[in-house]
């Protein structure tokens, strides 16, 4: 079955969801109000998997003929590398959830509307639209292939009936318009039955077309393409609170764009040294302040964050604030330089705090205090003694993301073995949960997991050595107002909801 990019197949996909990968949903669960992660329990709402056309075919093919690039994908049945989810993002209302994958596709899920006869389906997300955002390209000048992998998706706030989102790969940012069409003009008499244009001389009557309802169709059209502005690989995009501009950041430069202008962008940060030999750090992430359209932050590979004010100068090479924590000499190790590299930076919804993720920790910084973070959470400190092996299998370079919940009281980030962690900032409690096919049935309550560090391993604990480092959760998203989270585990998207007892 071929999925046309413009067709809405949500009914077909819900049928497919009840196929071999998902069991039918069980009894309904009440919706949650704002609670921390400690009080409620998390249940699996649905697990979504949108196979590509290739992998649909591969269901009937032999194992040998399947295109499997990485050995660990053999454990995920019928999955190809192109299906690996590379970014997840809720829109501003939480009604839509967008995912981008390595194959350059964007899949948008929409929340099931509340209905009287199917109460238990509220909170589930179904496929709303699928389109190919980026294609692989070839840079002939540098003899380099440009990957089509979607690095980031950012939604624009909704201003009319259509939805707009930005999606980017390594080099090009695109603005997509996703709109619904449920009416179609009918009654033209300009074409004959076969669809060919009639000779104008044969047309003797003027027929005004009438809008007739049709099956709902969701179409995605590229409205803007912002290309050729980045020499290095784009790692972040961020929409400004003025809704007119956005920025794109690569390893050494940050550019400011206007949505209406695609052939120009302002360079606002440039940390490229005149002599590349002197290069010591790169930009790893950047984000605009949620309310102040002149303020943004960017993080570096050295573990520092710079806050810049665009009012100060056109080129924001000199920061307004510089956040750096002095290194703990007792934690000094061979790899401490690379594990201090910040992989993600996020403003809190209030705009008062920023959260940064490096390899082993998540830190919360107060914008008013530059010399150290106000909170530090250990995500998987048991890996500190395993850094050498993690360097060998390249896991030490994994870039984990982190997210705030709607009220900025809980933060979440991913780990290995399909574990993800939540930290309640108020109660100081944390929980480790697992997103896996084997361990969770829909509507079942997720059991907190524990990693045994040493000594005697209790039942239900998992030892560090048996962690599966090929199963990593790099991308998660939290609904802007409710306790609904989306967790991307390789090619699966898990949606969990907080169930209040």
């Amino acid at each position: 079955m071929v999925l046309q990019p413009n067709e809405r197949r949500y009914r077909d996909w819900s049928h497919r969801r009840l196929g071999p990968w998902c069991s039918p949903t069980g009894s309904p669960a009440p919706l949650s109000c704002e609670t921390g992660c400690g009080e409620g329990s998390w249940i699996l709402v649905c697990r979504l998997l949108v196979p590509t056309q290739v992998s649909l075919l591969s269901m009937e093919e032999d194992i040998d003929t399947r295109k499997i690039n990485n050995s660990f994908l053999r454990d995920h049945s019928y999955a190809t590398e192109a299906d690996i989810i590379s970014t997840v993002e809720f829109n501003h209302t939480g009604e839509l959830l967008a995912t981008g994958d390595k194959g350059g596709r964007v899949v948008i899920f929409q929340r099931e509307q509340e209905s009287k006869n199917q109460v238990h389906r509220r909170g589930e997300y179904n496929v709303y639209s699928t389109f190919q955002s980026h294609e692989p390209e070839f840079d002939y000048l540098k003899s380099l292939e440009i990957e089509e992998k979607i690095n980031k998706i950012r939604w624009l706030p909704q201003q009319n009936a259509a939805y707009f989102l930005l999606s980017t790969n390594d080099k090009t940012v695109k603005l997509w318009k996703v709109s619904e069409r449920d009416k179609r003009p009918e009654g033209y008499n300009l074409k004959d039955e076969e669809g060919r244009l009639r000779d104008p001389a044969t047309i003797t009557t003027l027929r005004v077309p009438v809008l007739r309802p049709m099956d709902l169709m969701v179409e995605a059209t590229p409205r803007r393409v912002f290309a050729n502005a980045h020499t290095y690989h784009i790692n972040s995009i961020s929409v400004n609170s003025d809704y007119e501009t956005y920025m794109s950041a690569d390893d050494l430069r940050i550019n400011l764009w206007n949505f209406e202008i695609t052939n120009q962008s302002f360079n606002i940060v440039d940390i490229k040294p005149a002599n590349m030999e002197e290069l010591t750090e790169v930009i790893t992430a950047a984000e605009f302040h949620p309310h102040h359209c002149n303020t943004f932050v960017y993080s570096s590979s050295k573990g520092t964050i710079r806050l810049c004010d665009m009012r100060a100068s056109a080129l924001c090479d000199r920061h307004t604030k510089f956040f750096e924590e002095p290194e703990d000499p007792s934690n000094r190790s061979f790899f401490s330089e690379i594990i201090s590299s910040i992989s993600d930076v996020k403003f809190s919804h209030s705009g008062r705090y920023i959260m940064t993720r490096d390899y082993l920790t998540v830190k919360v910084w107060d914008l008013n205090m530059e010399n150290r973070p106000i909170e530090t959470y250990q995500v998987h400190d048991y890996l500190r003694s395993k850094l050498c092996s993690l360097y060998e299998n390249d896991c030490i370079f994994d870039k984990f993301e982190c997210v705030w919940n709607g009220s900025d009281s809980v933060i979440m980030t991913g780990s290995y073995n399909n574990f993800f962690r939540m930290f309640d900032r108020n109660t100081k409690r944390d929980v480790t949960l697992e997103a896996s096919r084997e361990n969770s049935k829909p509507r079942a309550i997720l059991k907190p997991r524990k990693v045994c560090v040493g000594g005697k391993r209790r039942k239900d604990e998992i030892s560090v050595d048996s962690l599966d480092f090929s199963k990593k959760i790099l991308h998660t998203a939290w609904h802007p107002s409710e306790n609904i989270i989306a967790v991307a585990a390789t090619n699966n998207l898990y949606i969990f909801q907080d169930k209040v007892n």
Binding site: L144, E145, N275, M276, L279, K302, R332, E337, I338, C388
Partner: protein, 224 residues
């Protein structure tokens, strides 16, 4: 001795990773290459300091305690290797070093011919002139050794100006590092006069018949 072997293993692994990162889709990742070069630098530093200490017949320290600040400029590390007895002394220097790096970067525009930092293998290898390298390397070596003897801790203006032919590379300092020490590492013996293999010295293969592997590896590193 184990420390040396471990450091050597990590160095080899890092070079291998760098070489393979060229072949992956999407081209070289600047951040990844930077991280690999940092690890390589740390490993080299570790190896050197362990070797110096073993040479001085003092107790070989444990691995974590010996890792220096990799942010140090590699030429400063050459001094640090000479001053291997005081690894902790490097740490207080790290702060002023960082601030000095910024003005250093600003000084370089005045001296270096600006090169577009394109990640182009072809352009880079062609910019490394064959004739220039043979003359460059001995003088580089001499300059580095001279600095190590002096133990200068302040900025030396000459140091800032790399050989113009190598300004193109992303991490040619790494190439120099490898040129100086890698042959010694691979052969498991300290190199009295390090066999040098300028990366683009394709016109004279007969000069260095024993360096085939070294040639490949160093060329891989420099060709960012």
């Amino acid at each position: 001795m184990e420390v040396q072997k471990e450091a050597q293993r990590i160095m080899t692994l890092s070079v291998w990773k760098m070489y393979h990162s060229r072949m992956q889709r999407g081209g070289l990742r600047l951040h990844r290459s930077l991280q690999l070069s940092l690890v390589m630098r740390s490993a080299r530093e570790l190896y050197l300091s362990a070797k110096v200490e073993a040479h001085e017949q003092t107790e070989v320290p444990s691995l974590p305690a010996r890792s220096p600040d990799p942010r140090l400029h590699p030429l400063r590390e050459a001094q640090a290797a000479a001053e291997a007895a005081s690894p902790d002394g490097e740490q207080p220097c790290s702060e002023p070093m960082d601030t000095q790096e910024a003005p250093r970067a600003e000084e370089t525009p005045a001296r270096c011919t600006p090169h577009p930092a394109k990640v182009s293998r072809k352009r880079r290898s062609s910019s490394l002139s064959d004739g220039g390298d043979a003359g460059l390397v001995p003088s580089k070596k001499a300059r580095l050794e001279e600095e190590a003897e002096e133990g200068a801790s302040s900025e030396v203006p000459d140091r800032l100006q790399p050989p113009p032919a190598q300004a193109e590379g992303a991490f040619p300092n790494l190439a120099r590092v490898l040129q100086r020490r890698f042959s010694g590492l691979l052969n498991c013996s300290p190199a009295a006069s390090p066999t040098v293999s300028p990366p683009a010295c394709e016109g004279k293969p007969a000069c260095r018949p024993a360096d085939n592997m070294l040639n490949v590896l160093v060329r891989a590193v420099v060709a960012f």
